[in-house]
């Protein structure tokens, strides 16, 4: 016995001091920061960094939800259009001034947004689980649906908040700050923390990972697979709603271009953050890191003057791939 103990404990690869896989995205981020500092002096200015972090709020928050969906073995392509749709509904409601046109209206509007968001998520969830349709197709379909509904609500134009007072009342939610920290940044941290807690510390999170890792095993263990999957999509919907609550006060309007390509950005953030698309693993903090990474790349592109505006896309693509290569090489250390 004693010997086997020694024996076996000798063999199993002892977990490395630093878990490089988890650390990789942060290292990549650090590299990018350094790179940015070289590219442009104004990059590291407080103002600029604050702007970038604040802007990354939408993708970061949606990314938390995306991490849940992807960890559960699904995917959601509809988040961008969903954001546009939720925003439109929210604004249209607030324009009715129900709730007294003041804080009341705002509160009700946000509640409504949350409701609509989760309903959209529920729709995605039910079609994929009960209807047993590949999530890719389901959410591609709803992507078209939500987008079309937005354009239809807006008559092809834009839906703007009418009341100026309400706007000024609402603006701080994006532009304001608590104790020097811009509100959206605080919110990102809060949401990510909550997300991490739910995924790692609650039974639901554990079941989610189990479902994503092996559906059969989960089923045999008495985990309600369909419910877990569906809830994941609802969580995604809620995150979209929260992102919208921060988005609307910025420009006070929803247009046909609202949320365009957010789905790709969110998924990219998740994957760059170290969550594999096949499910079973979820790295909430990594996703946050991925979202920042994307936003910063864009920022550097504009700040730097040596790239033709035509080629920006190419450089961005390259940077993302390189960032992944950096990660990969780090992760490999775990093998050793």
């Amino acid at each position: 016995m004693a010997d086997t103990l020694r024996d076996a404990s000798a063999a199993p690869p002892r977990l490395p001091r630093v878990d490089w896989v988890a650390a990789a995205p942060f290292v990549a981020l650090a590299c990018l920061l350094v790179f940015g500092a070289f590219v442009s002096p104004s990059f590291l200015s407080l103002g600029n960094l604050a702007n970038v972090l604040t802007r990354s709020a939408f993708i970061a928050i949606i990314g938390v939800g995306a991490t849940f969906v992807i960890a559960s073995g699904g995917i959601d392509l509809s988040v961008g259009s969903m954001a546009a749709f939720v925003a439109s509904v929210m604004i249209l409601f607030m324009n009715t001034e129900l709730g007294g046109g003041g804080v009341g209206t705002l509160a009700l509007g946000m509640l409504l947004a949350a409701g609509v968001g989760s309903m959209c998520g529920l729709l995605n969830g039910l079609v994929t689980t009960v209807g047993r349709i590949e999530p890719f197709i389901t959410t591609l379909g709803t992507m078209g649906i939500f987008r079309a509904l937005t354009i239809w609500l807006a008559n092809g134009g834009s839906i703007a908040m009418k009341s100026q007072d309400l706007r000024t009342l609402y603006r701080p939610v994006y532009f304001g700050s608590v104790g020097g920290v811009p509100l959206p940044i605080a919110l990102i941290l809060a949401i990510t923390a909550v997300g991490a807690f739910v995924l790692y510390k609650t039974a639901f999170g554990r079941h989610l990972l189990a479902v994503g890792s092996s559906e059969d095993v989960a089923r045999y263990s008495g985990i309600p697979i369909n419910r877990v999957r569906t809830v994941a999509y609802v969580v995604q919907g809620l995150c979209v709603a929260v992102a919208v609550m921060v988005y609307v006060p910025r420009l006070g309007a929803a247009t046909a271009t609202t949320g365009l390509l957010w789905e790709l950005q969110a998924i990219t953030a998740v994957v760059v953050g170290g969550t594999a698309l096949r499910g079973g693993v979820g790295r909430v903090w990594g996703t946050l890191c991925g979202a920042l990474l994307l936003e910063i790349v864009g920022n550097i592109m504009v700040l730097s003057s040596f790239v033709s505006e035509y080629l920006i896309g190419a450089v961005q693509g390259t940077i993302i791939i390189v960032a992944m290569l950096v990660q990969r090489s780090l992760s490999n250390r775990n093998r050793a």
């Binding site: 008559n155 092809g156 834009s158 046909a256 271009t257 504009v302 700040l303």
Partner: protein
């Protein structure tokens, strides 16, 4: 007896502010005209890109139409497909974007894109004998290119210096980002040209947030109602707007229909020049009920 005429209208999908305006105006004109002429049937179809517009053209012609009013996504791509429509004996009205082969179009209603840039440039040149401007372009497509060329030509040799050019994808959000970054990058910016009023919204918000006083004004384009209103109200940040009305589609439809019902000659070229909207004339161009 009521003469039956079928007119097809093929336009870009409402994927940003201006095209959204186009679709709205088309639908409105459809309602008006059909009410005026019993027997008139107008089919409005939108397409997200050149290829699908070519598809739409095919499908519309197979349905059998007398006239086509189209705002091509891209003249190079759609010249050949339109030629086919023409060869089927259909009356072709082209709006806004000149075809590479002008013999195809019976009627050309042009909202002169290079002029949008030129007028904006001339205005800025006049307002700022010397200064630093930043430019926010739309999407990398032909119209954008034409507007940009017009602008560059207009300010050539003046004291104006273009600090930077970036694409804002005709989206307020992207324009907001780009402007934020411009403000971080350049300590002094005198004026902004952003090609499209939708993007101007984002630009203004970014300036407001940065509390920067060096930026004297923003010139947009297209005549979005909020912007026209600001001009009318004498907003210092939006002193002017360069008209590029989505309503031009309606004009084209009016004329095309007239060709069939009221025996008046309409063949030819109608150039709607890019009017400079100022505090003085703003009232005329303010349509509160338009979504754009």
């Amino acid at each position: 007896q009521t003469k039956t005429v079928t007119v097809a209208v093929s336009i870009p999908a409402a994927d940003h502010g201006w095209t959204g305006g186009v679709v709205f105006q088309a639908e409105r004109a459809k309602a008006l005209l059909e009410a005026r002429h019993p027997g008139l049937k107008i089919i409005v179809k939108t397409s997200p890109d050149g290829a699908s517009q070519a598809n739409a053209l095919e499908d519309l012609t197979t349905q059998g139409i007398d006239a086509l009013v189209t705002l091509p996504q891209n003249s190079d791509e759609l010249t050949d497909p339109l030629r086919q429509v023409k060869n089927k004996g259909v009356f072709v009205t082209v709006v806004d974007r000149a075809l590479s082969d002008p013999t195809i179009q019976d009627l050309y209603v042009a909202g002169n894109n290079p002029d949008v840039g030129r007028v904006a440039g001339e205005y800025m040149k006049g307002k700022l004998p010397s200064g630093q401007v930043v430019v926010i372009r739309g999407l990398p497509i032909v119209i954008d290119e034409e507007r940009q060329k017009g602008f560059d030509a207009a300010i050539a040799g003046s004291g104006l210096k273009v600090l930077d050019k970036q694409f804002g994808n005709w989206s307020r959000d992207d324009a907001f980002k780009v402007m934020q970054d411009y403000l971080a990058k350049f300590p002094k910016i005198d004026a902004v040209w952003c090609q499209d009023d939708d993007m101007a919204v984002g630009v203004l918000e970014a300036i407001k947030q940065a509390k920067r006083s060096d930026v004297q004004f923003v010139v947009g384009g297209a005549g979005m109602k909020d912007m026209v209103k600001r001009v009318a109200d004498g907003d210092a940040m939006i002193p002017v707007d360069v008209l590029y009305p989505p309503a031009m589609i309606a004009t084209a439809m009016e004329l095309t229909v007239a060709n069939f019902y009221d025996q008046i000659p309409v063949r030819g070229r109608y150039i709607m020049d890019a009017t400079l909207v100022t505090k003085a004339n703003a009232k005329e161009f303010y349509y509160p009920d338009s979504p754009f």
